[in-house]
């Protein structure tokens, strides 16, 4: 498939150019320094059009490229991502680089640590070109809930439309880039696959615990996952192979061994379950038709297609997800008080006056809404009815997925119910309408299941995503079927 970007003037190819580029760098046929110099020039130009960076780190990338080049010249191993430009969602810490999770309350914060996923990527030869734009702390699906003075990324296919969110900058840059690049993104309730679908790129949200969360500025600890976004399935598989693995700094990271995902699984006649509820009337007809056509192509390629139903997930997933996510977020955000790091004000009044002044001034409206709702849901008198109930329903949802996977290998749905909306349409949406748009993505996130969005068509000139979900730690199966889809 080839997608031409209307606004960038660039043409991108879904061919696996990353692997060839890395081979050229490793063999010394292409200079990493020269390649990154070109990539930086291009990124600077594209960023002016699409606003995907919160903090560019061009000097860091140039230095890392210099080091890679030096290693190649001295016949030392430069890593499996040698010389690849890598962008990092603003929520992941990089030592000495401003890391704000898109929030004004962290303005000026330059962490002392680097997120493990980023460290592994750098150690594999990745060159960090910038921090990417996002909804404040991940609180949104359209990258419009940004902190004061933070950029709103514009969809490279149509700049009047959203990139999706919350990892909007990551998908935006991936779609626009005319140089070898992968993005490190993060998902709590759909924040990797949503923007990947809206921008026409591939996004993988791994199994909870597959990638260490150390160094991530938390949104909701039991839901947060770090994963890659790339132009094609192979690029994403390669990036995950680098990032995944146990980390003693994250007690929830899995000790299961990491596979070489770039090799993909071999599987006979994959059983694909199409979730009946995901093709309901709430979704755009053009999206439904295109995703059904993509699933039919998987059948032509040898997959066995059946219909499955997940009524609990689709009826109760949204309230369960939002109550848990907001509850966890409200505790996480209690640490931001203007003393130890980030934004601050002149000390005045008592501690409650000061903390309230800082938090009131620097948190955005959606952050305040989620802090209030999350605090309410955990308060004595309401906790059992909201927070605990949501956790019990989550248990039912996990069981429902386990039951579904007793009869199928992979589940298929549209990634999002509609194409990327226009900013003018988003402005008129209520908070509740915003939350309801996550109906297709909250289920696998609540259950911690790996899920992959691949572009499958265009509707009204905008990309449409096919979402594939697998059992825990079966990312290999997702990459296998993802490649089948690309070749269909």
């Amino acid at each position: 498939m080839r997608l031409t970007l209307k606004n960038s003037g660039t043409t991108m190819s879904n061919k696996a150019m990353l692997r060839n580029y890395i081979n050229e760098i490793r063999q010394g046929n292409v200079s990493a320094e020269e390649a990154l110099k070109k990539a930086i020039t291009s990124a600077q130009s594209l960023n002016k059009k699409f606003h995907f960076f919160t903090t560019p780190t061009y000097d860091l990338a140039a230095k890392q490229a210099h080091d890679i080049q030096h290693m190649v010249q001295n016949h030392r191993e430069p890593g499996t991502l040698a010389g690849v430009a890598v962008s990092v969602k603003d929520a992941l810490c990089i030592s000495g680089i401003e890391s704000c999770a898109g929030s004004a309350i962290l303005k000026g914060y330059k962490p002392l640590i680097t997120a493990t996923a980023v460290t592994k990527t750098i150690n594999a030869g990745g060159c960090i070109i910038g921090k990417t734009a996002q909804d404040e702390f991940g609180f949104g699906g359209f990258s419009v809930n940004v902190g004061h003075e933070f950029p709103v990324p514009l969809n490279p296919h149509d700049t009047t439309r959203s990139c999706g969110g919350s990892s909007g900058g990551a998908a935006c840059l991936t779609a626009a880039a005319d140089f070898p690049h992968v993005a490190i993104a993060e998902s709590t309730g759909g924040s990797i696959v949503n923007p990947a679908a809206f921008c026409g790129v591939v996004g993988l949200c791994p199994t909870y615990g597959r990638v260490s969360r150390f160094g991530l500025i938390d949104y909701a600890n039991s839901l947060d996952k770090i994963g890659p976004v790339g132009k094609n399935v192979e690029d994403v598989a390669l990036a995950l192979s680098v990032m995944a693995g146990h980390d003693q700094n994250d007690a929830t990271s899995s000790t299961l061994p990491v596979e070489d995902y770039a090799k993909h699984a071999t599987a006979n006649k994959i059983r694909v379950g199409v979730i009946k509820e995901s093709f309901g009337e709430g979704s755009d007809e053009a999206v439904r038709e295109n995703v059904r056509a993509a699933i039919n192509k998987l059948a032509d390629a040898g997959c066995k297609i059946t219909e499955v139903t997940l009524p609990t997930t689709y009826t109760y997933g949204i309230p369960s997800y939002y109550l848990i996510a907001m509850s966890e977020a409200s505790t996480n955000l209690s640490r931001y008080a203007g003393i130890l790091y980030g934004a601050s004000e002149p000390l005045a009044g008592g501690f409650r006056d000061y903390f309230s002044a800082v938090r009131t001034k620097h948190f955005g409206t959606e952050a305040k809404r989620r802090i209030l709702l999350g605090t309410f849901a955990r308060m004595t008198g309401w906790r059992d009815q909201y927070y605990t109930k949501a956790l019990q329903v989550r248990q039912l949802i996990i069981k429902e997925y386990q039951h579904a996977f007793s009869t199928v290998d992979v589940l298929a749905t549209p990634t999002m119910p509609f194409i990327a909306p226009k900013f003018s349409e988003i402005k008129d949406m209520t908070p509740l309408q915003n939350y309801m748009t996550d109906i297709l993505t909250v289920g696998p996130n609540l259950a911690g299941l790996p899920h992959l969005s691949v572009p499958c068509a265009q509707a009204k000139g905008m990309p449409v995503g096919l979402l594939l979900t697998a059992p825990h730690f079966r990312e290999d199966l997702l990459f296998h079927i993802g490649v089948m889809h690309e070749q269909a």
């Binding site: 002392l112 839901l223 309230s356 709702l373 019990q392 039912l396 209520t430 259950a447």
Partner: protein
């Protein structure tokens, strides 16, 4: 369940947020519509269903109690504007 202005003000005070009257009205309306919708969770039978705090079973992870060098006091203090003589300075507590 009816949400009142006093509910919003009480929650805001708990989480250290100051709200204007306009914001109180807005958040009250938001709370009402969101919680009315979310209350449908009560239609589910969760008798004897344990809460899922994590999507996968999580085990306690312990390590040897050996002191390690973390960041230095100077590094920690370098992130704050409110420091004095090697300490953080905070607002009045009394």
């Amino acid at each position: 369940m009816p949400i009142t202005k006093d509910t919003i003000r009480s929650v805001a005070k708990t989480c250290c947020l100051e709200l204007t009257e306009q914001e109180v009205d807005q958040f009250m309306a938001d709370f009402q519509s969101i919680l009315d919708t979310f209350s449908k969770l009560n239609d589910t039978d969760t008798t004897n269903v344990p809460p899922a705090f994590h999507p996968l079973p999580i085990a306690d992870v312990l390590r040897e109690d050996i002191a390690k060098q973390g960041c230095t006091p100077e590094q920690a203090l370098s992130l704050s504007k409110h420091t004095s003589k090697g300490y953080f300075v905070g607002p009045k507590t009394l």
